[in-house]
């Protein structure tokens, strides 16, 4: 009896220790998130790509500084995006919308017309947004769980002609605001594509079904994405992107880095130009 009481006591103190450990981990994770939140705006001001150099001066890999030098010649500006695990989705949605806004305001009538048509295409024909919502419903998602998010993306596209670069930046910089809703909806669109094309993706998912993969690697906020998610989102939206990979590997400076096209077949223009560095995505601008 005594010994079983002692067992119980020991078990209780062990459980208390577990709880303390758990709370410490949560507190630490929150502190890291807060730190990132304070240090990095959701969508920062565009700077010269050379602004990345100080981060890599002491890096042993030769490709970083050399790559930044190349990027500074090839691209006019770089816009840093908060590195909270959502950066790809945020960078892509911001760049996609900003590109439309810039074209509409460029004074070039043909470009403006094309941007208007593209916004319209995203809203209705090809109907990625509306069609996507149907896809989500048919996959068993509840409308109540995503319609607030899809509405923000629709609203942003429908209001594109009255949007300024400044108002777009403000929209994306509100914590928990509209830009965050749009970013999350793009996660769901990524899921929609993967789940409605299981045969294309299943062979890449080791020990996962498309459902378990999406629940763990796509839908949770803050989970970083890989090539597979990027392809899925681009195809779901029927857009192409180009991604520069700055991973520190040495390269032939006369050729430059290799911008990797995603879903660019038959397209001239990328909806977004992005920069990948290990674990992170930012936005690039040629002009």
């Amino acid at each position: 009896m005594e010994s079983s009481e002692r067992d119980q006591e020991e078990a209780t103190s062990e459980s208390a220790k577990k709880l303390q450990e758990y709370e410490a981990t949560v507190a630490q994770q929150n502190a890291i998130q807060e730190e990132i939140k304070k240090a990095q705006p959701l969508v920062g001001k565009a700077v010269s790509p050379s602004a990345l150099s100080p981060e890599y001066t002491d890096n042993v890999k030769p490709g970083f500084l050399k790559g930044i030098e190349y990027l500074s010649k090839r691209y006019a500006r770089l816009r840093p995006v908060r590195g909270d695990g959502n950066c790809f989705y945020r960078a892509l949605t911001f760049a996609l919308l900003e590109n439309l806004v810039l074209k509409l305001r460029s004074g070039d009538a043909a470009a403006a017309q094309a941007a208007k048509a593209e916004a319209q295409r995203l809203v209705d024909k090809g109907k990625p947004m509306k069609e996507s919502c149907q896809t989500l419903l048919s996959l068993g998602y509840e409308e109540v769980s995503f319609d607030m998010f899809s509405a923000e993306l629709l609203e942003a596209l429908e209001g594109i002609e009255t949007t300024t670069p400044e108002s777009l930046e403000a929209k994306f910089n509100e914590d928990g605001g509209s830009g965050e809703y749009i970013m999350w909806f793009c996660r769901l669109l990524t899921s929609a594509f993967i789940k409605s094309h299981p045969s294309r993706f299943e062979s890449f998912l080791i020990g996962d079904t498309v459902d378990t993969f999406c629940a763990r690697e796509v839908e949770p906020l803050g989970v970083e994405c890989e090539q597979l998610q990027i392809i899925a989102l681009c195809e779901q939206l029927d857009i192409g992107v180009r991604i520069e990979y700055l991973n520190g590997e040495d390269f032939d400076a006369s050729k430059g880095l290799d911008a990797v096209p995603v879903n660019m077949d038959g397209r001239q223009e990328a909806a977004a130009e992005l920069l990948f560095r290990p674990g992170h995505y930012d936005i690039l601008y040629t002009a």
Partner: protein
């Protein structure tokens, strides 16, 4: 401050009323949509059968971008529930997604009751008994079930 959290909570409430999942109920507390009390009924044909387990859900203005904080008010004995009632459940932590509404949260916790995850023990004794002495584990669960009827805090 954004009111989208409140709007979403109102809709979660309506959904919970119009289309109630079996074995769970929940409602906001006295005029505060941000704090909810919920009850999960122990699933039939399990040691949890007949239990009425109360929970408190606290939402922040970041909901549904951030999960609510959820804990049991009723004393529990379960591998994934800490002594203070906090729950170790992936969708309430690192696998949170705005796709989960209150119905989904409560039904996930309900299924966790009978389907513990021994990989992330929060109560080491419950976890050990669950794996090594299921009979004793079930007896302790029945004790908790009986306590849940008196424990009307």
């Amino acid at each position: 401050m954004s009111t989208s959290a409140r709007r979403r909570l109102m809709r979660d409430f309506r959904r919970l009323q119009n289309d109630p999942p079996s074995g769970v109920t929940g409602a906001p507390m006295d005029n505060n949509i941000m704090v909810w009390q919920a009850v999960i009924f122990g699933p039939d044909d399990t040691p949890w059968e007949g239990g009425t387990f109360k929970l408190l859900l606290e939402f922040s203005e970041d909901y549904p971008n951030k999960p609510p904080s959820v804990r049991f008010l009723t004393k529990m004995f379960h591998p994934n529930i800490y002594n203070n009632g906090q729950i170790c459940l992936d969708i309430l932590q690192n696998q949170w997604s705005p796709i989960y509404d209150i119905s989904a949260i409560l039904t996930s916790i309900q299924s966790l009751l009978c389907d513990p995850n021994p990989a992330s023990p929060a109560n080491s004794e419950a976890s050990r008994l669950y794996q090594e002495n299921r009979r004793e584990y079930n007896r302790r669960v029945r004790e908790i079930v009986e306590m849940s009827w008196i424990d009307d805090a």
